[in-house]
Amino acid sequence: MILLAGIWLGATAAAADDSALTVTEIAPGIFVHQGVHAEATPENLGGIANIGFIIGDDSIAVIDTGGSLREGKALLAAIRQISPLPVRYVINTHFHPDHIFGNGAFAASHPEVIAHANLPRSLAARAGDYLASARSAMGQSFLGTEIPNPKRLVGKTDDIDLGHRRLHLTAFPPAHTDADLTVYDEKTGTIFAGDLLFMERIPSIDGSVLGWLKAIDKLRRVKAQRVVPGHGPVSAPWPAALDDEERYLFVIATETRKALANGESLRQATATVGQSERPNWQLFDAYNERNVTAAYTELEWEE
């Protein structure tokens, strides 16, 4: 009885919430919705990451779908206000819940779901936790959300064509996560960096701090006009947009190595490393110690 009531309420809520997301056209044919700098709540529908879409002559590619089925549906509603073309591709920049949980909203048009080759395995290992914590954070707003199942996997690079508009996909070695994928739109020189780029909101290390610094080096060589960061403004100048994040990660790596050389324990290191960066980032206290833990347990294996 309780279960039935829950489903019924959820269906009502979802039906009542087909309002379209606010999107900004950051370059011709490229639209981005800006996530808020907060944790997922029933009110924000998990909409804490930047998500967007690119329109070609024949079809549309969605790049990240948001933190819940409802956010995905609101993104689809935004697309339908702008273009009737089919959504042929859903690209997942990595496996974090705020980027992938809207995939289900696009199932009706049977898009090719694309991701880094490592994504299925890494997501499978985390899916149970992601669903449980999103349910407890969002409650009714999360109903109906499912784990995506990408079938087109990118090991190194791949290209897709939206009709006179080619997108170039690049898979990275472990950096923000072990499944980071960027999307480059040749037509406008726009790069969707996913969470390889955090602006304003503190980066979170769920892969490798050294790998991430290397990824930034590699990204800098991309000749782009602008970038869409995974978190931050909808569009930012390239490559200056990378500067703050690179400095933060460099500080974390350098100070962690120093702590290790001084024989500081993990606990001591988490209390001191990176503190000079506090004024520069939103949600600093929620993630910095965790980042230091990740850096410490990675770097303690260096000779």
Partner: protein, 277 residues
């Protein structure tokens, strides 16, 4: 949380029996609900039967962050003050994370030559929980200390950020000794073993990925062939198990470590230990 707990429990075979015992003991009255949230009384009975456990807080305590930044890697120290425990020598320490699916995280067996029984390690914490350390002395008496830790999701959290790296370096070990030890002083050694300590996971209906539990279950540490410490571990120890312990070598010698995982894979390494200068 239920889904992930089930996944962990399903794989923590060595502790399944213990959990079955607890489940049988579970039925309670509504009035007892508040108190029944504390699993310790049942755990104590399951692990130590009816043996008395005295309060050891005058000479032993647990140090852990009150709120852990990363539930999969919670640093924990079991500290003893030898000056406050004359005549008592620690033989074994049982570390219990009350609300983890595999509550007995580790059992440390200490040789008498160990100068200070204090142990440091890193654990996974599945939800807000008390953590108990129970020390058995050479005279057979039990003493305990506890600490409360706020952390959630560590057991079922993915064991590895970079699975390819974990496979490539499986079983590698590293020993850290402070370089500035003075002669006759106890030294703190840190042993690290590269191992994902996978807690295992259920078949995922969508992706069909299945990762069986695979964890370090035994570590034997010797110095010049004589036992120093042996450790029984399980999935409640963090990825890349970490053990800090003390050592007071009278002379230069060789520290040797043998670790065995739940698949029966055996990893060995030895290090020369210079005499304290």
């Amino acid at each position: 949380m239920r889904l992930s707990r089930t996944a962990c429990i399903g794989q923590a075979l060595s502790f399944l029996l213990l959990l079955v015992i607890l489940a049988v003991a579970a039925p309670r009255t509504a009035a007892a609900d508040e108190a029944s949230d504390d699993p310790w009384p049942d755990l104590q009975t399951a692990i130590f039967a009816d043996r008395q456990i005295a309060d050891g807080s005058s000479f032993m305590h647990l140090e852990a962050p009150a709120r852990a930044a990363d539930a999969a890697v919670v640093p924990l120290e079991i500290k003893f003050d030898p000056a406050q425990m004359p005549g008592l020598t620690v033989k074994t320490i049982t570390l219990v994370i009350d609300k983890n699916p595999a509550p007995v995280a580790a059992v440390f067996h200490l040789a008498a030559v160990m100068p200070d029984p204090s142990i440091g390690t890193r654990i996974r914490v599945n939800e807000y929980t008390n953590i108990h350390a129970v020390a058995e002395m050479t005279d057979g008496k039990l003493y305990m200390a506890k600490v409360f830790v706020k952390a959630a999701g560590g057991c079922s959290a993915p064991a590895v950020k970079t699975p390819a790296e974990a496979v490539a370096h499986l079983g590698e070990m590293k020993l850290k000794l402070p370089p500035d030890a003075t002669a006759g002083q106890a030294r703190r050694a840190q042993l690290m073993i590269r191992h994902p300590n996978f807690s295992g996971m259920q078949m995922d209906q969508v992706t069909r990925y299945y990762i069986p539990a695979k964890f370090i279950e035994a570590i034997d540490i010797t110095y010049d062939g004589k036992p120093l410490m042996s450790v029984e571990g399980n999935i409640s120890l963090s990825e890349n198990p970490f053990i800090e312990f003390s050592l007071k070598p009278d002379q230069a010698g060789e520290m040797s470590v043998t670790a065995r995982d739940s698949d029966g894979a055996v990893f060995k390494k030895a290090w020369p230990v210079p005499a304290s200068s």
